[in-house]
């Protein structure tokens, strides 16, 4: 019987991809293991292999087609002894995955236990909200709509760009300006970045400045710090921050402390960057938010952007900063698009939070992917007549206490949102700072919404439970509002 060949998913977070090339043509005999086609995403390239024997009866999606959704039938395979032309003329089955089909199940947010981690395009564009599809460039005409984006001059053209592209552009721009900037890490060069963040850098800057390292985090972190001691400006990419635990001694004991220990003689102008926090279905060792860890260390700055414009502007600032910077990215956010100002040299200051959405009843403070819960919750709260002000911290250390406190003085209530663990977390720190600075203004105790106090489980339902949810944020906001 005829079998549909479906568009496979390359990763748990892939939603669509490009059918780059068919390697078999209609009428070709195929056997299991034969490579049928190549597919690409902005992140990676993969071969689609046959799992059944038969004849490639019909190609449904031709070479070079972009944005093919995962699980779309891309071809029909006629089974042994089956009439090829009959199979070819049969209409493709519905897109639902078949039990015998090879491709991974659709990694849609719902199924991956991530219903509450909405892709930002679900959020209306009232306040520089991200958009999923490239749209016509927009122009800032109304400053109040971007009231906290003081970095962006009025009249600036905005272009939609993924966080991934924004990070790449930030590095490329700084590398063009300053020959002492270089990138090193695993798979940053020839592979074009494990998450394609360094795509194209090798081609532009060459192997001397875009350096593939062996799998040796402790060693190359130390090499980067040593190079930084001499005044070079390394960008050290960790494939994920989970692996940076192997290097944490060099980050903390060497990078963060040397300026102090040398009485100000010798610092380390270095950026450690890479994806941080939970991705999807990768379990405990690959799912951890290190924002609170690094934020405890004097001598480090810790940056965790949410939007593409912040990612770009903050990374440029980080590369120029004379201090060691922990730059925490998020894999789920890499592929999401946001408007980014089209400026020759756009930077965002480190240490300044951004009021992403103004409100009067409750302050919700978050950062990085936590913002997706915060913004969605703010929308839901609005429906119930609660006006939430959402602050994107952007920098965890030094923390912009002033912006948080000013907002809490206005609203009298605060909820913090992060995916990290509760104990000694960023939320705990925010709560303390509010106590120290605005205790008399509080109308209710601060509530922190965090990842649960457990190692990240693998099972989809448990993973969903372990992460914060929009419902939890909404409930917390209502609680502090006594509603």
């Amino acid at each position: 019987m005829a079998t549909d060949i479906l568009m496979p998913a390359l990763s748990p977070t892939m939603e669509q991809g490009k059918l780059a090339k068919w390697l078999k043509k209609e009428g070709d005999k195929v056997k299991p293991g034969d490579v049928l086609a190549e597919i690409e995403t902005d992140k990676a390239t993969m071969e689609v292999e046959a799992i059944d024997e038969g004849v490639l009866a019909k190609i449904l999606v031709s070479d070079g087609t972009d944005n093919v959704a995962v699980n779309t039938p891309i071809a029909i395979l006629a089974g042994e002894g089956e009439d090829v032309s009959a199979a070819a003329s049969s209409s493709p089955a519905p897109a639902a995955p078949k039990a015998e089909a090879q491709p991974a199940p659709t990694p849609d947010m719902e199924r991956e236990g991530m219903a509450d981690r909405p892709s930002p395009d679900a959020i209306p564009g009232t306040d520089a909200a991200p958009v999923a599809q490239p749209a016509a460039p927009s122009v800032i005409t109304n400053r109040t709509a971007y009231n906290a984006m003081a970095e962006i001059p009025e009249g600036t053209e905005l272009v939609n760009m993924t966080v991934r592209e924004a990070l790449r552009d930030a590095m490329a721009e700084e590398m063009r300006k300053d020959g002492s900037v270089f990138v090193m890490g695993e798979e940053v060069a020839e592979y074009q970045g494990a998450y394609k963040v360094t795509q194209g850098l090798l081609q532009e800057f060459g192997a001397k400045r875009v350096i593939d390292t062996p799998i040796t985090e402790h060693g190359f972190a130390g090499v980067g710090v040593g190079a930084a001691f001499t005044g070079l400006r390394p960008i050290v990419e960790f494939m994920t921050f989970n692996f940076a635990m192997q290097a944490i001694d060099q980050i903390i004991n060497s990078a963060a402390k040397t300026l102090y220990m040398s009485g100000g003689q010798l610092g380390a102008p270095i950026v450690f960057r890479g994806p941080n926090g939970a991705a999807a279905r990768v379990a405990a060792q690959h799912s951890q938010d290190f924002a609170a860890w690094y934020s405890q260390i004097p001598g480090l700055k810790v940056v965790a952007p949410y939007s593409a414009s912040d990612a770009k502007g903050l990374l440029k600032s980080a590369i120029r900063d004379p201090n060691p910077i922990i730059f925490l990215e998020n894999e789920i956010l890499y592929g999401q698009s946001f408007p980014v100002p089209k400026l020759d040299d756009f930077t965002v200051p480190i240490g300044k939070a951004r009021i992403h959405r103004e409100g009067t009843d409750v302050t919700i403070v978050s950062f990085s992917i936590g913002m997706t819960y915060a913004l969605k919750a703010a929308q839901e709260l609005e429906k119930e007549g609660i006006s939430a002000e959402v602050i994107d911290l952007r920098t965890i250390r030094p923390m912009d206490t002033e912006t948080i406190v000013a907002s809490v003085m206005k609203t009298g209530r605060c909820v913090t949102v992060e995916e990290g663990y509760p104990q000694s977390g960023v939320g705990a720190e925010i709560a303390m700072r509010i106590m120290e600075n605005a205790f008399d203004y509080l109308d209710a105790p601060v509530i922190r919404i965090t990842g649960k106090d457990v190692p990240m489980p693998y099972a989809a339902n448990l993973e969903k439970l372990a992460l914060p949810s929009v419902a939890e944020v909404v409930q917390a906001a209502k609680t502090v509002c006594y509603r």
Partner: protein, 353 residues
């Protein structure tokens, strides 16, 4: 201690200088120990004596409670850093671990600044905020002074990486001990250094004890010159008690690194007379072993004998050198005793730029 005693004999008898080529085979007979001319012997004597007297004074001041925390003395190992430094040229960098006073003096850092850092005073090289294990001098190309065992090996490899990146022709001397040689990041660094042909010389100061653990109890391969064999890094065992042997090996190693051939390993067979730190119980080795090393292989005594016998210096001339060195050390101690502590406002400076 039989093993240690046997090895002690080897260190001082010129049986060193065995080298492993990049393919890991052992070269044949040791080259003859190179000779120093009078000026070289005089310079080496002066520099080693300064370290010895400085360290003796440090020990004294520690006993008086003027120096706090950890204090690791370099006494006995002076020939290593002095010989290596003689083989460098201006611009070459040095990085080491926590037993760093000798390295700083050999790099030309001010004895007053080093001593005042030991006593935690504002005139210390790190304004009193680094202490014995953490001092730096950009001007003298000294990159510390690192308290985490082995961390300096990746850092030194990174400094060499920067030399390579800048194509400045400089070489980074990266010192570490027989204890640090067992840290994982050492081998991560070896791999990258050889892969990228970085100009780094790894100087393993094998003083035979990692704190109180003899190398034979901690190392499966006690020939540290072979530690780079699987990466194709050439290495030599060097009589680290003979400053001439150190200098000659240093020249070979530095030339190798500077010419673009990549890293080189020198195992310096040396000995520390004092404890690991000031609070060492000294239960892990015999007094006889220490006495024998001091009497038969002392690096300074070897030069002193040459100065008297070969170069016909008089006892008075040597005394003059000695009193000059003592003067420098006494001045440093005086300064470090009376210099004020850092201003309390220094607590919050130099955290970020």
């Amino acid at each position: 201690m039989a093993v240690a005693a046997r090895k002690a004999g080897r260190a001082g008898t010129g049986a060193a200088n065995k080298s492993t080529s990049s393919k890991g085979s052992v070269r044949g007979a040791a080259p003859n120990t190179p000779q120093f001319d009078k000026n070289q012997d005089l310079a080496a004597y002066n520099d080693m004596l300064l370290i010895r007297r400085f360290e003796e004074k440090s020990g004294q001041m520690y006993g008086m409670g003027l120096i706090g925390g950890f204090c690791h003395l370099y006494i006995g190992q002076e020939a290593v850093v002095v010989g290596m430094q003689m083989a460098t040229k201006e611009g070459d960098q040095v990085i080491t671990g926590y037993r760093d006073h000798g390295h700083m003096l050999a790099c030309g850092m001010d004895a007053k600044g080093v001593m005042a850092e030991l006593t935690g005073r504002r005139g210390g090289l790190s304004k009193g905020k680094g202490g014995s294990m953490h001092m730096f001098s950009k001007e003298k190309h000294f990159y510390g002074g690192h308290g985490i065992v082995g961390a300096q090996v990746s850092l030194g490899t990174g400094i060499a990486f920067a030399n390579h990146y800048r194509e400045n022709g400089n070489v980074c001397l990266t010192y570490f001990g027989d204890g640090a040689a067992n840290q994982g990041q050492v081998y991560e660094s070896f791999n990258m250094a050889q892969l990228w042909k970085l100009p780094v010389v790894y100087v393993i100061e094998n003083n035979r004890y990692a704190m109180g653990t003899a190398v034979t109890r901690a190392s499966a391969q006690t020939d540290f010159s072979k530690r780079g064999v699987s990466f194709g890094i050439p290495g030599e065992q060097v009589d680290g008690m003979d400053v001439r042997a150190v200098y000659a090996a240093g020249q070979r190693a530095i030339e190798h690194a500077r010419s673009g051939k990549g890293p080189y390993i020198l195992e310096m067979q040396t000995y520390r007379y004092r404890g690991h730190s000031m609070s060492d119980p000294a239960k892990y080795r015999t007094k006889d072993e220490v006495t024998r090393m001091r009497e038969e292989f002392d690096p300074i005594e070897q030069v002193r004998r040459r100065l008297l016998e070969s170069w016909k210096l008089s006892e008075d001339e040597l005394k003059a050198i000695d009193s000059k060195v003592r003067e420098i050390v006494n001045e440093a101690a005086e300064f470090a005793t009376h210099d004020p502590e850092p201003d309390p406002s220094e607590l919050y400076t130099d955290i970020l730029l």
